[in-house]
Symmetry: C2
Subunit: 432 residues, 2 copies
């Protein structure tokens, strides 16, 4: 981890640059997979399952397996899942929006209603960690939104199983349709539908470069909407001199262990604190099974000495981190000045992992600087907000002239006519 002491602002862009993404021609590799699924449906999925996951079994996981999954995991884990579910549910329930009728003029009433997206798909990757926490993060808001069809795809392991914790989390969220399909082929299956897997309108969830390329391509073509553009995970930690170095080191490592392409940024008031943290990282690394991954990630990570809060905030906002830990005694002071971040963790006892799993906030967040213009996943991501209006005859008499003047000036006469025929019908001597 390289250390920089108050670098001049014109170097920030370079110092805060994310590790370059592989610019492989992923499209050329993913396109044939998508096409095969679109044209052959289940047959293609079965072929890819054999080829990529050595899995020969049924595409759909039996509902019985989902219902029984809670008994297949450790009771303490089940209890933890239920607690996390309750917290995530409480936080996302509060994002519900009741229609508020605004009478913009007498007789002109406008409002909007949130309606769940009918059909949504959740992708949960296989790989080194069974991400059942992501099932909760996506399944809970889908459930609250009232999405009527929720489909979950996740690859079967080599032994032909989907991890029971993934199924247990699905059962908590009322997801009954789980399919043992992974990779770009799973995204294509949910986008186009097959005989077995229902077509959905929006696809959520993380994945490898093929998965994210498939999501991006199908979204660009308008076949599906997606949750967020993809990018490697990242955290920025901003600490004062009192923040215990061991806390900061563990926070940085919990990001770094995600993948060798993760990035962590440490900003401290003093160089001494950074050195303490670097030492604590070394100590902790020696006990961590995923140390090799974390070391890779640390290689392209950066530490900054920024003694002035004002400058530190500017740096952090310009980085726009997915996660921002403000490990400062005076953390609350800065809430209003954090303008670009996915999720913010305030104070010494608020590790990112609390939000990753169980405090209630969502962990599907904008990476790669996208926090400048995207929000993380929330209940909003699972609904459409449809606007409604109802205008009375009197209301149109109030509003009509405004519409007619504007329509005429834009040269859209039928727009004007739609008001005029109505006002005419209300007049004592209709002409039109």
């Amino acid at each position: 981890m390289k250390v920089f002491i108050e670098p001049p602002t014109d170097q920030w862009a370079e110092l805060l640059a994310r590790p370059a993404l592989q610019a492989d021609d992923l499209g050329a590799r993913v396109r044939p997979i998508i096409e095969a699924v679109r044209q052959e449906g289940d047959a293609a999925l079965q072929r890819f399952n054999r080829q990529f996951d050595s899995y020969e079994g049924a595409l759909q996981i039996e509902e019985k397996a989902i219902n029984e999954a809670p008994q297949k995991i450790e009771p303490t884990l089940w209890q933890a899942l239920r607690q996390a579910y309750a917290n995530i549910r409480a936080f996302h329930e509060a994002q519900k929006e009741e229609p508020k009728i605004i009478e913009t003029m007498p007789g002109v009433r406008c409002w909007r209603r949130s309606v769940g997206i009918e059909r949504v798909g959740i992708y949960i990757p296989g790989g080194t960690a069974p991400l059942f926490s992501t099932v909760l993060m996506l399944g809970v808001p889908a459930q609250i939104a009232g999405c009527s069809e929720v489909v979950l795809c996740t690859p079967a392991t080599a032994t032909g199983k989907v991890h029971p914790a993934i199924l247990a989390a699905a059962s908590l969220c009322g997801i009954g349709k789980v399919f043992a399909v992974g990779g770009a082929q799973a995204i294509a299956a949910m986008a186009y539908g097959t005989a077995t897997i229902p077509k959905v309108d929006k696809v959520f969830g993380p994945g490898n470069q093929y998965v994210t390329a498939a999501k991006q391509m199908l979204a660009a073509e308008g076949v599906i909407a997606i949750d967020l553009p993809a990018g490697p995970s990242e955290v920025a930690v901003w600490a004062d001199e009192h923040a215990p170095a061991a806390f900061l080191a563990a926070d940085l490592l919990s990001q770094a262990e995600h993948g060798s392409d993760s990035q962590v940024i440490l900003v401290c008031d003093t160089e001494a604190k950074i050195n303490e943290v670097l030492q604590a990282i070394e100590t902790q690394l020696s006990h961590l099974p995923r140390a090799h991954i974390a070391r890779e990630a640390l290689r392209h990570s950066r530490a900054f000495v920024m003694p002035h809060a004002e400058q530190a905030l500017r740096l952090l906002n310009s980085y726009a981190p997915e996660h921002l830990i403000v490990a400062r005694r005076d953390a609350a002071r800065y809430v209003e000045r954090i303008t670009n971040a996915g999720s913010v963790f305030l104070g010494y006892y608020t590790p990112e992992s609390a939000g990753d799993y169980a405090s209630g906030t969502n962990h599907t967040l904008p990476t790669n600087g996208f926090a400048r213009m995207y929000s993380g996943v929330s209940l909003d991501s699972f609904v459409k907000k449809i606007t409604f209006q109802e205008i009375t005859a009197e209301g149109l008499q109030q509003l009509g002239a405004t519409v007619c003047h504007m329509a005429a000036a834009e040269g859209l006469d039928a727009h004007k006519l739609a008001v005029e025929v109505r006002l005419d019908a209300l007049s004592p001597n209709p002409q039109l």
Copy 2:
């Protein structure tokens, strides 16, 4: 306009198909424009201005011209703009969300704050109609959101001018940076920034196929976010037997006059009503300057006789119209059963043009069936919703075990460690 009487559901997809978009290789034509702007900046913009718009003047419109624009338009139009502004502002102000602190467990406090996207760009096309109404629809929520930099690009006319109504609308919204640049080059300029035009993070607004291709390409590459995927405008009108045919005809025509690729759908309880409407359309067309455009649009439009409300609603939800006019006496009854639509107009005296211009709702809406999974533009489109959490030592003691069990089961030990080092520090005999 072809008429179908209660078509069987298995024909709906075909009958409701949108006119196929031109599948030109737009990318190959737009890419060099984007690259030129990225590499050459203002020089490329000036070249394209000469080439495409025969415009040789300055890129930036003087602030004086913006400030004086209100005096350059008809007083009645200025009054109309101010009324529309007030209504749009009232409706969008009500979309503000105050942070709500949710204590998911004792000592675990989570909330989210809406923060304006710092830099946004608005594109307003030139062409047959000066779309100053769109300036209001995008400028007002940008202003409410507190976006600190709002950039507007619009092509200069052949006479080297930007329409004063566009500038007047910009002045109402406090937009001081207006540039006379159009087309894909304007989108590229806002995405990458040039010496004159500031880089923005999200680009809004309609445009021709080159503009929308540039938006889509730059969004797919993660350079900018965009408002919505593009598609031709459309309306569905659902009328009962009492709805005056002239009202319905004018509503259909006000959509059809937008462009030859617009689509209108009419759903009535009886064939007699459809015939009345078709006749009224003919009568009205003879008076409309844009009749040639509307006739083109009507050619690929459809009318359906659907005597059963239940079936009609299913058909309309499966079409997922951008605009849905429910010209029925009992319109209010159906509000809760409309699940896929951009914006809904209830009753006989609520023409779409009211919402297009001045009632208060936004007119930037999901087309092309995207109402299944996208919302129209709202205040939400101009903000990020950043989540925050603050956990006390006691809160972490409550929540910690849940996080640790889940992290361990996902094989992410540093995540667990980040909690453990903190709980350890709180214990009477710290070990770590």
